[in-house]
Symmetry: C2
């Protein structure tokens, strides 16, 4: 991962759940052969499979020493707390890892390599601090050039943060590749970058340049790919992150979008990618807190994303990706039927039932677009 093969200890202390351990779960889903253990003292002794439904027998351990005993030789910060700071209690763990000469991979907004103490320790022991969210020094301004590439650009969009936009994009890309299509994945968040080994964490970019970096990455991918699948971020109705979402839409300028939603999610989670449910509730009830931002129907979301994209370049939602994690199989199939009925689009849970239907919808959109281009 990120230039070197390691046996990673994934730090997810107190947060190794499907809901809160987004980075840890993403890495386990796509790079599990590089994970030696997950550190979460509140769940030590269980398997990854038991905690998050993925990662098989990879053990959850209480501390770094236990991970080292299992052969770990690198530390990955497997959580993205609200605001991106390194929780004070984790600092000792990072120091411990650096003291062992390990590399430390971090997706935090605060850059570990800029911390004089940690940087000195890394230098002294020969480890490297890899801050995945550090962005290039360039300052690109988007000018809708991505709308003009020959490749079909597909963006995953969503009803909220953390509903499965990265996973849908990765599964779709894999399915397209399996079908012989030259498909690229454009990573825009810290987990996607760790999985793909490249990309820009657009939420850490100065706001003026988010669309510009998205445009740059699409233009770069368009050199080789027939279909470019861009990892979406946030949601248009998210009070904190809607700007990142729109910048990504207008910068990547997709012709097709896949709408992602987690079944059972009825309102925007107030604390973004952090926060257990209890904390969300506290936020919305606390002083200055307000009522929920309700997630509208899928049909309404389709209209909103299409209208908003069209301000810069026309785009159609071509499929729905549902995250049915909280449903049994019968409930999941019913949810797919309901989503398809409501939107008139193909729907699948790409993890549970495969990304075939999504890939077919994307390829149909590509064929229609090429037919149109040939005719005109």
């Amino acid at each position: 991962m990120l230039g070197k093969r390691r046996r990673l200890a994934v730090l997810a202390e107190g947060s190794f759940t499907p809901l809160d351990g987004k980075t840890a779960v993403g890495v386990l889903r796509y790079r599990s052969d590089e994970v030696a253990a997950v550190i979460d003292s509140t769940r030590a002794g269980r398997s990854c499979e038991a905690c998050v439904g993925i990662g098989g027998a990879i053990p959850v351990v209480a501390d770094l020493a236990s991970a080292a005993a299992l052969g770990a030789d690198g530390l990955l910060i497997g959580i993205a707390p609200q605001g991106g700071e390194l929780p004070a209690t984790w600092r000792a763990i990072v120091r411990d890892a650096l003291g062992r000469g390990w590399d430390v991979l971090s997706g935090l907004h605060v850059f570990l390599a800029d911390d004089p103490e940690l940087a000195a320790l890394a230098r002294e022991r020969g480890g490297t601090l890899l801050d995945v969210r550090r962005t290039p020094a360039r300052r690109p301004i988007a000018t809708a050039r991505a709308a003009q590439v020959d490749a079909l650009v597909v963006l995953t969009v969503g009803s909220d943060c953390n509903v499965g936009k990265m996973t849908a994009a990765l599964e779709l890309r894999q399915e397209l590749t399996t079908r012989g299509v030259r498909a690229a994945f454009v990573a825009t968040g810290q987990t996607g970058i760790m999985v793909a080994d490249h990309g820009v964490a657009v939420d850490a970019v100065p706001a003026d340049f988010v669309a510009g970096f998205a445009e740059e990455m699409v233009l770069e991918a368009a050199r080789d790919a027939e279909v470019i699948v861009v990892e979406g971020q946030g949601a248009l109705r998210h009070p904190g992150y809607s700007g990142v979402t729109l910048a990504l839409m207008h910068g990547a300028a997709p012709a097709a979008m896949v709408l992602c939603h987690q079944c059972g999610r009825e309102s925007i989670r107030r604390t973004g990618s952090r926060g257990a449910r209890g904390q969300d509730a506290a936020t919305s009830r606390g002083p200055g807190g307000i009522g929920e931002v309700v997630i509208p129907t899928l049909g309404q979301l389709v209209r909103e994303y299409e209208e908003t994209a069209a301000w810069v370049s026309p785009a159609r939602v071509v499929a729905v990706a549902l995250n049915t994690r909280d449903l049994d199989e019968r409930g999941a199939r019913a949810a797919l039927v309901e989503a398809a009925g409501e939107t008139g689009l193909v729907a699948s849970d790409p993890v549970r039932f495969g990304a075939g239907p999504l890939a077919e919808a994307v390829l149909a959109a590509r064929a229609a677009r090429r037919g149109h281009a040939t005719a005109s």
Copy 2:
């Protein structure tokens, strides 16, 4: 300005026009008593009034030495080039200013104080490098709390960049103050910050925190103000900056918006706040360039801004602020009548005809809101 009264030389080399000298013009409009001269060798010998229609007899000079001879004791970088870099040819001018012991005020994305050579020179000669776009180290995430303040929050929004959102906000705030209303101005861009002596340049903030900073500033202003006028940024249809616009809308969570438009502007200027018209044309014709992003009707813009704001909190556009700079008085009055007819809203050019109508519309919205609050 920014903590100290100075006699400023405003650097606007090659760009001292109403269209390209946005920061210079803004500073001249609101802090002209602190400007000794404007530096633009291509226009030396003229007055500010002759170049940009404001600033009276303040002279335009060819170089820093001429400004110094007129009593200047500080340098303000009066341009915001695309991308924010310091043009190479200006570096010598900044060095010259620092060599004289002057302070240098900059709104560039690149921070002068981080430049080792310039920082050393400032230290040595006793000057200060003030980077207006440098943002606080905090990482606030917005949670729609600004929607709950007692004060009426008003956001200026626009059909494009550089149409008059800051000016409309400042004129509106001044008019409200004149009428005895406790009104605050929230600055969100480098010129607004220079004029107001406080604020956060949200376009330089990591994208995740733009809405959070807007929310913070509104909550802070709400301690004292009855009406909070927030300086808008960008435009929802701008391919490069739409994300900043939406983040500001959802973070500031206004109840009222003032729609700003420059008469005669029919499409989005491709290069944002830089670029003369010639450069725009080159961009849209060049390799990879695309056709124009057309600005829709004012009525359509009203609908888009209201629908988009309502995703987080309901807001109404209550007035239209037209920039009629390119029209004669008769044409300007006709444009106001047309805008009012098209939107059903009050319209004024706050610079040419005063912000009275805008203030009345805002106060009517405040009265209606308070009546509603009392009734409920």
